[in-house]
């Protein structure tokens, strides 16, 4: 290596370290402060304790909100995966007129009607249907938003699965629904798992819809509850927020590790958000 190459190499790694540092720095709070006996807004070497988690465990509103997050995530997952599987299978195997146009129209719609632009009509709709402050309302609203992309991705996936097993099952007289459940679902499991994890991550992290759909703090999922932890002096209760944030983040990190170990993250690159 010439000296110029050495300098270039050093520059390269310095730059990479800078990038790494700028991504890690804001995250350090999440891994240090939950274990700090004197939590503050800044990151420092923690005065180690697990006491913050005891405080968290003693706070019913905290774990109730995590339970609420589990309920709406699981509910949406079941609804999205089952409806998307049914629809994607039918669209993959039967040539319905206008099928591709339908899929693209759905995808277009779900990317337009998103975020804040949809909350006004959604709020009024939930109100009219008496579904404000109800997990059912939030599950239905979120699933409706996620379903088009789920259908699109799963239909792609179903197109690549072999059909010979279905033919044999049919020869033996199985009904289409039976074939779907017993033959197609096991073959399509990686695709279904992708959609399931994706749905859970979306719902688990969503702030906006629960924020407008719930008034009753007992029904808040973790995403909204986090912002209600204040001390009597009106300051954010850092002790509780730090431990709570970590508890709330762990399922997402666990799912990330699971997905990247099992399938590799690259494949899922595009379908987050």
């Amino acid at each position: 290596m010439t000296p110029a190459d050495v300098v270039r190499r050093i520059g390269f790694y310095t730059l990479l370290c800078l990038v790494f540092a700028s991504f890690v720095l804001p995250m350090l709070w999440l891994v240090s402060v939950p274990f700090d006996a004197k939590p503050s807004l800044s990151v420092s070497v923690p005065d180690f304790t697990l006491g913050n988690f005891e405080t968290l465990a003693d706070n019913p509103s905290a774990y109730k909100s995590l339970l609420n997050s589990v309920i709406i995530s699981a509910g949406s997952m079941v609804l999205v995966v089952s409806l998307a599987a049914l629809g994607a299978y039918a669209l993959s195997r039967v040539r319905i007129r206008g099928r591709d146009a339908l899929l693209y129209a759905l995808l277009l719609l779900s990317s337009i009607v998103t975020g804040t632009a949809a909350i006004v009509p959604l709020y009024i709709l939930l109100d009219e249907l008496q579904l404000l402050d109800s997990h059912t309302g939030v599950v239905l609203a979120m699933s409706g938003g996620l379903l088009p992309a789920a259908l699109f991705i799963l239909k792609d996936f179903m197109d690549t699965t072999p059909r010979s097993y279905e033919e044999s099952a049919r020869v033996f007289g199985a009904s289409p629904l039976r074939i779907l459940v017993d033959v197609v679902v096991p073959i399509a499991r990686p695709g279904l798992a992708t959609i399931a994890v994706w749905t859970v991550v979306q719902v688990w992290g969503n702030f906006l819809i629960p924020f407008i759909a719930y008034n009753d703090p007992d029904r808040f999922p973790a995403a909204v509850r986090m912002f209600t932890f204040y001390t009597e002096a009106g300051q954010p209760n850092l002790l509780l927020i730090s431990a709570f944030s970590l508890a709330y983040a762990i399922p997402v990190i666990a799912m990330y590790l699971f997905v990247s170990a099992r399938y590799g993250f690259r494949f899922h690159g595009g379908i987050k958000h």
Binding site: L25, M27, L30, S110, G144, V224, A249, I271
Partner: protein, 305 residues
């Protein structure tokens, strides 16, 4: 809520669309119907309803909730004449341009480009932290950045040798632009990593042999090869950034009233003017429509090929 970008869409097999299970058209529709009904109620209907609501003086409470009146285009003329709306549009443009098109896209490309030649552990480590910023729930990263930038004892002030500043109060727009760059770079990184893998090594080799330096290779070989990816990426991240509500969690909307926050404030705080907010929503929906149509046209062209 989502746009699909199947990076590795496999071509349909030779037997695609053969009805192996004997479903038949009628039953196929029956299978698709429950999903379509859900989408119709919670996606199509709200979108269409926005058009109607935007022409009324609907408010959350009181008389105008029970019997809203038709006000024609008043909401639109009021909105277009509102200086706060103009301010919000400018802030939104700054936010999308600064954090998505400049921030996420350039940083995402730079990281993908650098990691190309890095060792496997370096690569995995950097990729993991960038991805973490992207997949953690918005409420958590919102609070992390609130803490990071806080005046009293935020970590940024502790690191920087200059005096403490209240970043969120003094520079709210810069704060959310930097935040959103940090938050969303992962997508561009993933997309450009995939894109760079499609650049034929032989072309790069030829360029190198004819004496092209790093910048020249980038300009003459790499960029022309990944033009489609760049456009796709630009459209998607702009769309997502344009609709993002997360900055609200850091600044509470103070000094950073991008359009999503403007809609929220109009609709659910103060006078709670849902009709007026619907008019603004429709403007946002129409802009989304233009961007999404451009994206789908690209996606479709790529698949047909």
């Amino acid at each position: 809520m989502a746009l699909a970008e199947p990076v590795e869409a496999a071509p349909p097999g030779p037997t695609a669309s053969t009805d192996a299970a004997g479903l038949g058209r009628a039953r196929a529709w029956l299978f698709v119907a429950p999903g379509l009904v859900l989408v119709a109620i919670f996606l199509v209907f709200p979108a269409l309803w926005t058009i109607y609501l935007g022409t009324t003086n609907y408010e959350l409470l009181g008389e105008r909730k029970v019997s809203p009146e038709f006000v024609g285009l008043d909401n639109y003329t009021d909105t277009l004449a509102d200086p706060e709306f103009h301010d919000s549009v400018v802030k939104t443009l700054l936010f999308v341009f600064g954090s998505a098109l400049v921030g996420q896209m350039c940083l995402g490309f730079a990281i993908a480009w650098m990691l190309r030649t890095a060792g496997v552990w370096v690569r995995r480590t950097v990729e993991t932290v960038v991805l973490m910023a992207w997949i953690l729930p918005g409420s958590i990263v919102g609070f992390l950045w609130y803490a990071f930038l806080s005046e009293d004892d935020g970590t940024l002030n502790a690191i920087l040798p200059v005096g403490d500043s209240a970043w969120l109060v003094e520079h709210p727009m810069w704060s959310i632009v930097i935040f959103n760059t940090w938050r969303g770079t992962a997508f561009s990184m993933l997309l450009f990593t995939a894109a760079l893998a499609t650049v034929p090594p032989s072309q790069l080799e030829t360029a190198r042999l004819s004496g092209a330096g790093g910048w020249q290779q980038l300009r003459d070989v790499v960029l022309p090869n990944i033009r489609g990816h760049i456009l796709t990426n630009a459209l998607l991240i702009s769309l997502w950034t344009f609709n993002d509500f997360t900055p609200f969690l850091i600044t509470g909307g103070e000094g950073s009233e991008i359009l999503p926050i403007y809609i929220y404030k109009t609709a659910l705080t103060g006078q709670q003017q849902l009709g007026l907010a619907s008019a603004v929503s429709l403007i946002v929906l129409l802009i989304n429509l233009v961007v999404a149509l451009a994206y789908l046209a690209m996606l479709r062209r790529r698949r047909v090929r």
